[in-house]
């Protein structure tokens, strides 16, 4: 077996945490049952690696692909969402084999040494793993780029892509999906499932209704007859408006929202700043373990005023978490215009 492949295997095994090693190797279908049983998991990791290498040597494996643990945990590293623009006539009928062939051929034409693996996951997601090399070196399997695309939707999710690789990948994606352009969707997060659910609106939506609950008795969750809430009506109102803006139930876990302000400074008490002509540049970042949950709670508890301001409700509505806000003309209605960069 090749030395580089051996080293690669060593490093990959080292990266997997010890407690997950058994499950990962079980999922990796290249090892037979007897081989798996022969591995003693109580040994030290170093001894285990040596044993594994010996087993693999015997069967002359060439390209180990531990992608199973990435698919099972698609929550490592930052994911960035992109959107394909201007579909051509046959964009909606692109199916898997065609996409696979086209993508592989386009990307291989653009860059010589590149290793591409495409796999369709059970939930209709197409996972692409790309190991980049250049004219002088073999593909680097330790820093692969992962691309997730849902066929027949214009959404693509990327992870670990450098600025040099970006135009090549964009070109290949655009050509193989039969669209004309690709743009940044201004949405990023640590959890792939979360940004996917947000973009494709796969969480519980609440629609505005005139009569929120048809039966008044249904909402009577009184803990005790002697305890009564005075302002239950307005609390229910706030909760309804918060849910309409952000959704009900479990919300996708977004970690941050960034607002880049390029507006004029407005504060009557501070004359020096207000008199300046140029825009006041400022970046506001909201961060949380579950940002949408926090925003919804702040609206329903009254901390954020209801009806929810479009600045906050744009996050789930437009599926973005990076906004550039500029002044646009006179009047309060055009004071805020979330535009993308």
């Amino acid at each position: 077996m090749d030395n580089t492949v051996k080293r690669l295997l060593e490093r990959l095994v080292r990266r997997i945490p010890s407690r997950m090693l058994k499950t990962t190797l079980d999922k990796w279908s290249r090892l037979t049952a007897t081989q798996r049983q022969s591995i003693d998991y109580t040994e030290s990791k170093w001894a285990l690696t040596e044993k594994l290498l010996a087993i693999c040597e015997v069967f002359m494996l060439v390209s180990p692909w531990f992608h199973t643990d990435v698919i099972e945990n698609p929550n490592l590293g930052m994911w960035y969402a992109f959107q394909l623009m201007d579909p051509q006539d046959d964009a909606h009928s692109v199916e898997l084999t065609q996409f696979k062939e086209q993508f592989k051929s386009h990307l291989s034409e653009l860059i010589r040494h590149v290793s591409i693996k495409i796999k369709k996951h059970t939930d209709e997601a197409v996972w692409i793993r790309i190991a980049w090399g250049d004219t002088f070196s073999r593909p680097n399997h330790l820093k692969p780029t992962y691309v997730v695309h849902y066929l027949q939707t214009p959404y693509v999710f990327l992870s670990s892509l450098t600025s040099k690789q970006k135009p090549l990948l964009s070109q290949a994606l655009v050509l193989s999906t039969r669209y004309q352009a690709i743009k940044d969707a201004n949405l990023s997060g640590r959890k792939l499932t979360a940004i996917r659910d947000l973009l494709m609106k796969q969480y519980l939506q609440v629609f505005p209704t005139k009569f929120p609950s048809p039966l008044a008795e249904r909402n009577r969750v009184v803990s005790n007859l002697h305890i009564e809430k005075e302002q239950a009506g307005s609390a229910a109102n706030r909760h309804q408006m918060a849910c309409e803006a952000f959704g009900d139930g479990l919300l996708p876990q977004l970690q941050s929202a960034v607002y880049k302000l390029e507006t004029k400074f407005r504060d009557h008490t501070n004359k020096t700043m207000t008199e300046r002509d140029e825009a006041f540049r400022c970046v506001v970042k909201f961060a949380s373990t579950n940002l949408l949950e926090s925003l919804r709670h702040s609206a329903s508890s009254g901390v954020a005023s209801t009806p929810v301001t479009p600045l906050l409700s744009s996050v789930p509505l437009k599926g973005k978490n990076y906004f550039v806000i500029t002044d646009n003309g006179p009047g309060p209605s055009s004071q805020m215009k979330p535009s993308q960069k």
Binding site: S223, N224, H226, I227, E230, S301
Partner: protein
């Protein structure tokens, strides 16, 4: 302006009604759950986020014997909301039927100025100032006990003691050096 009036309704037999006003609506729920467990007296608890109370409930609302303002010292909003609610109370309440309860006094993120401000407010209104711990059931139980003591007097259920008399003993007083900077 819809003021809450202390004596405009008839009292109930062996009943005490308490109104808990808290901007964050957290501690009031746990206090209420323990307050209603009192057996010697029927305690009715009304919960509100701020005053004024909605007019729709005026008819069904019983006579409120004690109004408790719960202030979280780590939140400026909590303090401001309580201060703003004070003007919706009839002055008759300030004769022993209002009480301030403060949480998170030992929290490092609570500035000392805010506690001083609450103290000054309570002292100027001649109301008692209670400190409570809201995270443990023991803290909630002891806060409830103290509230019940004051509530029973305010509802007139304790012979010989009246709310005004007791408030003279329990009202918050300012230490003489409250305006001096502290040596932390």
């Amino acid at each position: 302006m819809s003021l809450l009036k202390p004596f405009s309704k008839l009292p109930g037999l062996n009943t005490a009604n308490i109104l808990l006003v808290e901007s964050e609506e957290q501690f009031q729920q746990s206090l209420a759950d323990v307050l209603v467990e009192e057996t010697s007296v029927t305690v009715n608890v009304r919960l509100a986020k701020s005053l004024p109370l909605p007019m729709e409930n005026d008819e069904s609302r019983p006579r409120i014997d004690l109004v408790v303002f719960i202030i979280n010292l780590t939140s400026e909003l909590s303090f401001q909301s309580a201060e703003a609610s004070l003007k919706y109370l009839d002055p008759g309440y300030f004769l022993g039927k209002v009480c301030f309860m403060v949480t998170n006094a030992r929290n490092a993120s609570a500035p000392a100025e805010r506690l001083d401000a609450v103290r000054k407010l309570a002292a100027s209104l001649h109301c008692p100032l209670l400190f409570a711990e809201d995270q443990t059931p023991d803290g909630v139980a002891s806060a409830t006990e103290r509230l019940l003591t004051i509530l029973k007097v305010a509802a007139g259920l304790v012979p010989i003691a009246t709310a005004l008399y007791v408030s003279n003993l329990t009202r918050c007083t300012l230490p003489l050096d409250i305006d001096q900077p502290s040596f932390d």
